[in-house]
């Protein structure tokens, strides 16, 4: 395909289904490959200076050394040795930039692709992905969060069935899924019958009542699906569980893989503790000890199962941290330039987009606004986020109104 054609194709933004009917386009790299999205959310804002954009030997660099990786020329922190081996499948954006230096505002931005506006609460990317790609008859919820400490943007004006379903402790039985004490299947059915009688036509036609009834239907379905096995990590071999790391984050990544296998469209796994205003280096090193085996094994495990090409993995936090090291040996909030990593799902691995200056204070090359990061995710998933969606006020709004995919990664 000629360059011109490809660009034209990108502009019209055909999704996977449309592309499938056009075999001539099917080989284009831009055709959506990802069927599911896994977000690894580093709660608190991870230090780009100590993970993916090191500045060794400078006054801002800190003690960590960069190491080579399986991607030629790409160097990352010495405390991510196992991930280094998988970097041929992972790419980094080193020049993500925003102006949101407050946790809640930054989290909102990275989760929705929008700055917080008092006028509208935007749906999280996960809820939108669930709505666009999820099947209404899926036994499991299509948007699941695992081990998150903070609460992230949810379905907003989309239907409540797309709200993130929170699993707090991966490996433990999920909450409220079993019949209450003294209730068996017969009695549960009796209760649901009684509820239908009382419910009648109450508030029929209002979005609240209709959405609530749909959530009840989905909850009932979830209680009774054999897919619930997905949450039982004991089905996995011990060696693999060890390889992910026996941490909530590590086991959460394993759970994410199991959920992807069962067709769940969005899983977000949280790793908290990155808000290292003091003792940044001790804190960050400990966190990387948890992150490294989990992230690396997730990439490896998905690849072995042939799922990496159709699963997009995004590693991100709400912002980065100051290049300058403060008197408490910490780093503070720094949204000006920070990193995200992406893998699988149509992302070309082993690439680096953007560059910062010698001290990590300024972007030297290719600033990437967060809107572009969101557009890249939607592009990989074949979702047209610029089509109008009706919000709670009955007005058509675009999930995304600006932003262009980062071509270098596709």
């Amino acid at each position: 395909m000629s360059k011109l054609n490809r660009r034209a194709f990108l502009r019209v933004g055909l999704g996977a289904s449309a592309a499938a009917s056009l075999p001539a386009f099917a080989t284009a790299q831009s055709v959506a490959k990802a069927k599911a999205l896994i977000v690894l959310f580093m709660e608190g804002g991870p230090s780009q200076m100590d993970t993916f954009d090191l500045k060794p030997g400078t006054d801002t660099g800190g003690p960590f050394k960069p190491i080579g990786t399986s991607a030629p020329g790409v160097r990352i922190s010495e405390h991510l040795p196992r991930l280094a081996r998988e970097m041929k499948d992972v790419s980094i954006i080193r020049s993500l930039t925003s102006t949101e230096g407050d946790h809640a505002r930054g989290q909102y931005l990275l989760h929705t692709g929008h700055k917080p506006e008092p006028a509208t609460t935007h749906p999280g990317i996960g809820s939108y992905v669930a709505r666009e790609l999820g099947s209404p008859n899926a036994g499991l919820p299509n948007c699941i969060t695992v081990a998150l400490k903070t609460r992230v943007p949810g379905e907003a004006f989309l239907k409540p069935e797309y709200a993130p379903y929170a699993v707090e402790q991966p490996g433990e039985p999920i909450r409220n899924i079993r019949y209450a004490m003294g209730v068996d299947v017969l009695r549960f059915n009796e209760r649901m019958d009684l509820l239908r009688t009382i419910e009648g036509e109450f508030a029929s036609g209002t979005p609240f009542a209709e959405g609530r009834r749909e959530s009840y239907r989905r909850a009932d379905q979830l209680m009774h699906t054999p897919e619930l096995r997905a949450f039982d990590l004991r089905e996995e071999e011990d060696a693999l569980r060890d390889s992910y790391g026996r941490t909530p984050f590590g086991q959460g990544c394993l759970l994410a893989r199991r959920l992807v296998e069962r067709g769940v469209k969005f899983i977000e796994v949280g790793l908290g503790g990155w808000d290292t205003h003091s003792n940044n280096f001790e804190g960050t090193e400990t966190l990387m000890d948890t992150l490294d085996p989990a992230f690396a094994t997730l990439v490896l495990d998905l690849r072995r199962r042939g799922l990496l090409e159709e699963t997009l993995i995004v590693w991100m936090g709400e912002f980065g941290r100051t290049p300058r090291i403060n008197p408490q040996n910490g780093r503070d909030h720094w949204p000006k330039n920070f990193c995200v990593a992406m893998a699988g799902g149509g992302i070309q691995g082993g690439r680096v987009v953007g560059a910062t200056d010698a001290h990590g204070m300024e972007i030297r090359q290719r600033p990437v606004p967060v809107e572009d990061y969101a557009a890249t995710i939607y592009q990989c998933l074949g979702i047209d986020a610029k089509k109008p969606t009706i919000n709670e006020m009955g007005r058509p709004i675009k999930i995304q109104n600006t932003g262009a995919p980062v071509r270098e990664l596709l």
Binding site: D102, A104, Y108, E117, P118, A119, T121, P141, R151, V152, P153, G154, E155, A156, F157, K159, P160, E161, A163, Y165, A166, E168, Q169, E172, P173, R175, N176, I177, R178, Y179, A180, M181, V183, R187, E190, R191, L194, L195, T197, I198, E199, F202, A203, G205, T206, P207, F208, A209, G211, R212, R213, S215, Y216, R218, A219, D220, L222, M223, E392, M393
Partner: protein, 522 residues
């Protein structure tokens, strides 16, 4: 029960609608209540819409209880109200509840949550904000004139323990360098009903606010900052507002130039008088702005009716017309003339025709016409308090299921139902029932403890054995109404088929608690 159809033909009658001696309202032709009835009905006529039937006493009473007290009424209260034949009973209960401690508590909470929304200090120094909430509660209880309420919040100096009104400014100013901007955003949202923050980065896309307007508004607070003193373990906390003239003026710097802005109200050029403190000047200019009264009326109307004339409540803008512009202006002028008498305004709304309509009707007219009462989901706090009141459930320690789960029932409940981001406008995007919340109600221990509590014999009461009367009691306690004939018939048949076993009643209670009717204000 009454069921009068209000029609546009009644517009000319500013009189009460009544049947069987129950008057909805009696008021003269020019009061705010009459303005509402006329203004709303005129629009029905213009759009060819008929108002819904008047709400019966059960529906009205439950709605009023939730709106004023934040919780459903008890079965005893419901029975007493339904039996009351006094024609002025609705007016009497409105008056009584507007003066009740439960009202002061519920509205003190509602207002203080909204004023100090998304405030990072609130979670950390709860007791300091308890003092702030207490101050707001006192203001509600004393029916503090609304202009004075605004002025006190904007000019308070602290310290918090002696002058808790300072909690409002602390909420914004504690946001470090964003402080003054955050304060302007909060003040604009609550007191002007508009979102001026969008003008921070660019001229407002839908409005006549410019970037210059925003920064000159921020100028009134630019020299203010919060000073905080807290013990290391956060157990004690105090804070106050410092105004520091040395701080200079807000500015916007670009590569080419640095533009700074003098304090000026909405870009009118009106600023502080000679030796007048900036915040005092802001408060003076704000309450003199006709938009101040308009936003206040819209906010109270929206909080009571479930939807503003401008919706969301902070959605005022040049491009957005209120649903009833003349009515809003007339009510705002009346509110200002009354000396910003909040209780008088609320009473007028609560006794107006639109407030007293039924929420049930077969045909759906647009919400903005207020031709029926709106069904709105209860807030998480209202839902929990109502569950407690309906069943006699008590807060208690829970056996933890999962590490990290809250141990107390109330806390676990609220965590499940609170939205991830505090919503500035409680009605803009109501927290809908997620799958997780549905499971919480279907199987969770809170609801099952409530089911057991509801059927535990009440102290000193004779256990009722007649199935029909037991069923009615459960309906009155949970849904604040008796069962319909159809419901009675169907449910009694089920109960009989199971030999009237305790489980049969438990399952009925469970179903009532799981109904959409229970979890909404309607």
């Amino acid at each position: 029960m009454r069921s009068i159809i209000l029609t546009a033909g009644l517009v000319a009658l500013p009189l009460a609608l009544s049947e069987g001696g129950h008057a909805a309202r009696v008021e003269g032709g020019d009061g705010p209540g009459a303005l509402i009835d006329r203004g709303i009905a005129q629009r029905w006529k213009a759009e060819g819409v008929k108002g819904a039937a008047l709400a019966d006493d059960y529906e009205f009473f439950r709605r009023l209880s939730i709106d004023l007290r934040g919780v459903i009424p008890t079965a005893e209260e419901v029975r007493a109200f339904a039996a009351d034949r006094d024609p002025a009973q609705r007016e009497r209960i409105v008056d009584a509840w507007l003066r009740s401690e439960e009202f002061a508590r519920a509205w003190g909470r509602r207002w203080s949550d909204d004023l100090a929304i998304n405030n990072p200090l609130k979670a950390k120094f709860r007791q300091a904000f308890d003092a702030f909430e207490g101050w707001v509660r006192d203001a509600v209880r004393a029916n503090m004139p609304y202009d004075r309420f605004a002025r006190r919040l904007l000019t308070a100096k602290g310290p918090l323990d002696l002058d808790p009104a300072a909690g409002f400014l602390m909420s914004g100013l504690a946001m470090s360098n964003e402080g003054p901007k955050d304060v302007v955003e909060r003040a604009g949202r609550i007191f002007l009903g508009t979102q001026i923050r969008c003008a921070e980065c660019h001229d407002h896309p839908f409005d006549d606010w410019t970037q210059e307007d925003f920064y000159s508004m921020a100028g009134f607070f630019w020299q203010s900052r919060a000073e905080i003193r807290s013990s290391k373990d956060s157990s004690s906390f105090n804070g106050w507002i410092v105004d520091d003239p040395a701080k200079g003026e807000p500015f916007v710097a670009s590569a080419k130039e640095k533009k700074s802005f003098a304090a000026s109200y909405k870009g009118t050029g009106e600023g502080p008088g000679e030796r007048e403190p900036r915040r005092t000047a802001f408060a003076r200019l704000l309450v003199a702005d006709p938009q101040f009264a308009r936003a206040a009326v819209n906010r109270h109307w929206g909080m009571l009716v479930g939807r503003g004339f401008v919706h969301p409540l902070d959605g005022f803008g040049a491009a957005k017309k209120p649903s009833h512009p003349e009515l809003l202006d007339a009510l705002a002028a009346d509110f200002a003339r009354s000396g910003y008498d909040v209780r008088r305004l609320m009473k007028a709304i609560l006794l107006s025709q639109p407030y007293q309509l039924s929420s049930r009707r077969p045909d759906a007219s647009p919400d903005r016409l207020f031709a029926r009462a709106l069904a709105v989901p209860l807030s998480p706090e209202q839902l929990y308090e109502s569950l407690v009141r309906a069943t006699g459930l008590q807060d208690q320690r829970l056996p933890t299921q999962t590490k990290g789960d809250p141990r107390d029932l109330r806390e676990a409940f609220l965590r499940e139902f609170r939205p991830p981001y505090e919503q500035p406008d409680p009605f803009a995007a109501p927290a809908e029932a997620t799958i997780s919340q549905a499971l919480f109600f279907l199987n969770g221990s809170a609801v099952n403890l409530a089911v057991k509590a509801a059927l535990r014999p009440k102290k000193g009461a004779v256990a009722e054995t007649d199935p029909a009367r037991r069923l009615e009691e459960l309906y009155l306690s949970i849904l604040s109404r008796p069962p319909s004939a159809r419901e009675s018939q169907l449910l009694l048949k089920r109960i009989e088929a199971r030999g009237g076993s305790p489980e049969a009643y438990e399952d009925v209670v469970w179903a009532l608690l799981n109904s959409t009717e229970f979890v909404t204000r309607h």
